[in-house]
């Protein structure tokens, strides 16, 4: 049975190893899609609608075409079709410089017949709201209902009840590298695209389909990538447009989204509003849960969220709806549906615990079926100093009040089949590990090197890792669902093991030992039963001559496992006069199975916490009902955490087993709930709406006073 072996046997796996691309990234040598400049390359720009809902009556490209330096102008939407949100693509240009392209799109004349629009959930659900989807009755989807147990019976057993409404607004991904591509045709049958993507092969297949080419005649390259978080799974309109402009002009075309477009059309986390009534028994069992909620994913649907979450409720009824608005569509965003669901559930848990007069942690212990989280509660509480929290919320003295809270989460991350990889040993001793996955910044490149090096007795820097390129024809899935490590690691390990086996077979006769007695370590192959028989790695591989060893691997299910429990504790300080909130510390205890690289695993947890922090205290999309436009499609008023906001983060890699489990998404889940509960513990008044900004804190304090 395949296994990763015992921790004591691992030389590299589970240790803290700096990422291989770190130096290139901090020195600027690493080339992101944004940095790719091809000889003779043109710049693409897209004209987007500023109107949220309109019929396209006419598009006149002639003035743009006449501008010197413009090489191509194409319509994207057809006359007669409908614009359904701000930012929707109308037409595109390719020009000699980016400045000319910018000027050119402003010369495209568009005749729009404005239609009534709604951009907020409240407006969409109001009586007499304009109908904005043809396929729905009203602007709300049919509710999805789930029932279990006996709800009324459950409430009958409840000693306490809480009824509350929780809200989380739309959050956008804010990839630091915006979506974009550089497309170039070698001839009319061969396309190369540098893409900022989470799915090299998905992008390749989409473009091959778009241009009716055999898939192997499209090459997609993603050497380095500046963040996707679920929003970059295909070329999108912008990628297909770049390739189209490149084909028309016979030149390379770079087309990156502007920051504004990134907010408007490149995806978002849907909003959530849930009205919940829940009850618990006098001995602290969560017994009944009745929830009606909705969210908006823009003009599309997909605004699901987890409710209830994590904790066991025997009797429940939930009803969820999508609300359509004239705004750009949602896309998967880091643990879709989980952080907002967790915020509401963990807030509710604290409200129930308080009514019961229980410590919220004890209340969780009673209702949390996960043994892993039970252990995490103990560890996390110890690490944050849970005993220091206010036993009476808001009881601290002084203007600045501190408090603590806890939140929980769960995720899958077990990976899946479909990755092909090749590990090659060359006669000069060099080793290549190649697969079509992509490194979004998660550190998968380094992890591949670690796995191959561990297997081959080499150092990670000895392994040349090639990822982010479709040309070797070794597909791997998109990097989503925290599936990458658990999908790729087993294949790399088995490929490296197969290559090692082949090398041992070549060397065994010379060492006069059976193949199964050979081992490799410290650049040396040796015989386990007779340590005097050794051969240096390069001497062994030197005998391969022209016959490099090149082996594939299999996705061995025994090497991975799904399911990742997580718990976070937050300590905050609230200035009760200004409403300013400082998060002092987050303790993140994250179940992750086998951490191939403990250093980058911690980085993943840090990054997740920071993203959760943004959702908790800063990030909110503001839609203006009067103009139909997003008011903060920038990074001035759409605020993300910076140095001053990021607290001390104690990332605890809670590795309970030695199988690989993905950890990209789960660390962002418990953060908003933990912070919201800490704010309550600090000031004794609950903010049920994210983000918890000074206005909401001051308003809540004012209501409490009144």
């Amino acid at each position: 049975m395949a296994s990763w072996g015992e921790a004591s046997e691992s030389r590299l796996i589970g240790k803290r190893i700096p990422r291989l691309s770190g130096r290139d990234k901090v020195t600027g040598k690493a080339k992101y899609t944004f940095d790719i400049n091809r000889p003779g390359m043109l710049y693409g720009r897209i004209l987007r609608s500023e109107i949220a809902h309109a019929n396209v009556v006419g598009i006149d490209l002639s003035e743009a075409e006449a501008l010197p330096g413009v090489k191509a102008v194409i319509p994207i939407i057809e006359v007669g079709k409908k614009i359904r949100y701000q930012g929707q693509e109308i037409a595109a240009v390719a020009a000699e410089t980016d400045d000319i392209a910018k000027d050119a799109i402003r010369l495209i004349r568009v005749d729009l017949e404005e239609l009534p629009y709604v951009v907020t959930e409240a407006d969409a659900m109001a009586e007499g709201a304009p109908q904005i989807r043809d396929d729905w009755e009203g602007n709300q989807s049919e509710p999805g209902v789930r029932e279990a147990g006996d709800l009324e019976g459950g409430f009958a057993q409840a000693a306490v009840e809480v009824e509350a409404t929780y809200h989380a607004p739309v959050q956008t991904h804010v990839c630091l590298e915006t979506h974009g591509h550089v497309a170039e045709w070698e001839d009319d049958q061969n396309l190369t695209v540098w893409a900022s993507t989470q799915a090299v092969f998905g992008t390749r297949n989409d473009l091959a389909g778009t241009f009716d080419l055999p898939a192997n005649q499209v090459r997609v390259i993603t050497e380095h990538m500046g963040g996707g978080f679920g929003s970059k799974f295909g070329p999108g309109v912008e990628g297909r447009t770049a390739a189209n402009l490149a084909r028309m002009t016979g030149r390379g075309v770079k087309l990156m989204l502007t920051r504004k477009a990134e907010h408007l059309v490149a995806g978002n986390r849907p909003s959530m509003t849930q009205h919940v009534r829940a009850g618990a028994t006098s001995d602290g069992r969560l017994i009944a849960y009745d929830m009606k909620g909705y969210g908006t994913g823009g003009i599309s649907s997909g605004a699901g969220f987890q409710a209830p979450y994590v904790y066991h409720v025997p009797n429940l009824r939930t009803e969820k709806m999508n609300v359509a608005v004239n705004v750009g569509n949602q896309r998967a965003m880091r643990a879709p549906g989980h952080p907002q669901g967790a915020f509401a559930m963990d807030s509710l848990m604290d409200e129930l615990a308080e009514k019961l007069g229980m410590n919220p942690l004890e209340f969780r212990r009673i209702n949390d079926p996960s043994e892993v989280r039970q252990a995490q509660y103990t560890l996390g509480a110890q690490e944050i100093g849970w005993h220091r929290r206010n036993s009476v919320p808001g009881s601290g003295t002084g203007v600045k009040k501190r408090g603590m809270g806890v939140g929980s989460g769960l995720w899958g991350g077990g990976g899946g089949p479909g990755t092909q990889a090749r590990v090659t040993i060359n006669s000069d001793g060099s080793v290549e590990a190649v697969t079509g996955t992509q490194d979004l910044g998660t550190g998968v490149r380094t992890a591949i090197a670690i796995i191959a090096a561990e297997e081959l007795g080499l150092n990670p820097t000895d392994i040349s890792v090639k990822v982010g390129d479709s040309e070797p024809g070794l597909p791997s899935g998109g990097s989503g669902g925290s599936q990458t490590m658990a999908s790729v690691a087993p294949v790399i390990k088995t490929a490296a093991a197969a290559a090692k086996q082949k090398l041992f077979e070549r060397i065994a006769p010379q060492l006069e030992a059976p193949v199964e007695d050979l081992r490799v370590g410290n650049h040396t192959i040796y015989v386990v039963s007779d340590r005097t028989k050794t051969i240096k790695w390069e001497l062994a591989t030197g005998q391969l001559g022209m016959e490099s060893i090149s082996e594939g691997g299999q996705w061995d299910e025994e090497l991975r496992q799904g399911g990742a429990a997580g718990t976070q504790f937050a300590e905050v300080e609230v200035d009760t006069e200004t409403g300013e909130l400082s998060v002092i510390k987050i303790v993140a205890v994250q179940d992750c199975g086998l951490a191939i690289n403990r250093l980058t695993t911690e980085s993943q947890i840090n990054g997740g916490v920071i993203m959760g922090l943004g959702q908790a205290i800063l990030e909110e999309r503001f839609m203006d009902a009067q103009t139909g436009r997003m008011l903060n499609a920038n990074l001035e008023d759409y605020k993300v955490p910076g140095t001053f906001e990021i607290p001390e983060i104690k990332s605890i890699v809670f590795d309970t087993h030695r199988k690989v489990t993905g950890v990209g998404e789960p660390p962002c889940i418990p953060t908003p709930g933990a912070i919201a509960n800490a704010v309550y513990n600090a000031i004794g008044v609950r903010v049920r709406e994210l983000p918890i900004t000074p206005d909401r804190i001051l308003n809540a304090l004012a209501e409490q006073k009144a």
Partner: protein, 326 residues
């Protein structure tokens, strides 16, 4: 941005002559450019000519002597923040300066630019929204999203003045020197700023052919304490939700005179004569400081989303007063 021609200024006469050729927006001045560039990129402004002031001699630098401070308009915000005399004797100004934006912006942003910067209002900054400030019919903040807008002096345009330096300088009793075709004039900085009721399109009295060249601050008084308190959502970079510049001449716990100027809550830096009156001549304690806070906001008229600013401003004023007495 639209194309423009670029002129390196060689003299103030040349600058005012260039400005005199047209009205607002045709010829614009650039120094640090930290505000202007964003306006150009967003097509909020589309000048034909930019006049680079950084080539003007003698427009930067801080003179500190017995007669007070003289700060050239091209002095960077960073230089103000780190000037030892300002740090020691004009604390409110140093604190305001270091609260501006980020180190990169403070290193290039200038005093003149900071005083003359345009509003951050998200309706104003959107090219396609034809708001009252840009010559349209309505201030969208009135019925729209107004979290960051004015609670005082708004009617009919509810922007807030974004400057941090202005409230501090006004609290210090600063004057500003302006050059136009007719020559030089000096006026109090407080009177330099105007409210939308007087002119909805501009935030100060400057005419299209005038330029700010320096700011003078009277000598620091002994026994004076001064503070700049700025509440914001992010540590940096962020504009004030509300700020208070307070300069207090103290005799023990008794306030002999007070100067209280609010930022981030009105279309101009807002001198709170009410708060000053509540403090002057009083022994400062919690009750007095609270009174000053509530007096400061007694005329506040919040919009839909910014009632919190009333509480916030009130608390900041009280806090500044208590700090003066401690």
């Amino acid at each position: 941005m639209e194309k423009f021609s670029y002129v390196n200024a060689s003299s103030l006469e040349q600058v005012t002559a260039l400005l005199s050729d047209s009205g607002w927006g045709e010829v614009m001045l650039i120094a640090g450019g930290t505000d202007l560039l964003a306006e150009l990129k967003e097509y909020v402004e589309t000048p034909k000519t930019l006049v680079n002031l950084k080539t003007l001699p003698g427009m930067d630098g801080i003179e500190a002597d017995a007669s007070g401070l003289k700060i050239g308009a091209l002095t960077t915000v960073a230089d103000i923040a780190k000037h030892p005399t300002i740090q020691h004797h004009y604390t409110v100004l140093a604190q305001a300066a270091v609260s501006v934006a980020t180190p990169q912006i403070r290193n290039v942003g200038t005093l003149g630019g900071n005083l003359c910067q345009r509003p951050r209002c998200w309706y104003y900054r959107d090219e396609t929204t034809d708001c009252l400030k840009k010559g349209g019919d309505i201030c969208y903040a009135v019925d729209g999203l107004s979290k960051y807008h004015a609670i005082l002096g708004g009617d009919p345009v509810y922007i807030v003045h974004p400057s941090d330096l202005a409230p501090a300088l006004i609290a210090l009793g600063a004057s500003v020197t302006i050059v136009g075709p007719e020559g030089e004039k000096t006026m109090s900085l407080e009177e330099f700023f105007t409210l939308p009721a007087a002119n909805p399109y501009r935030e100060n009295v400057l005419q299209p052919n005038e330029i700010v060249i320096s700011v003078q601050v009277p000598p620091a008084q002994p026994n004076t304490k001064s503070f700049y308190l700025k509440a914001r959502e992010k540590g940096a970079p962020d504009f004030a939700l509300a700020s208070v510049a307070g300069v207090f001449e103290m005799d023990g716990k008794t306030c002999k005179s007070a100067s209280v100027v609010l930022g981030g809550v009105a279309p101009a830096p807002w001198r709170s004569k009410e708060a000053e009156a509540a403090l002057t001549g009083k022994m400062i304690n919690e009750m007095v400081s609270k009174q000053a806070g509530s007096d400061a906001v007694k005329d506040a008229q919040p919009l839909n989303d910014n009632a919190y600013k009333v509480t916030l401003t009130q608390n900041l004023v009280s806090r500044a007063a208590m700090m003066a007495a401690s």
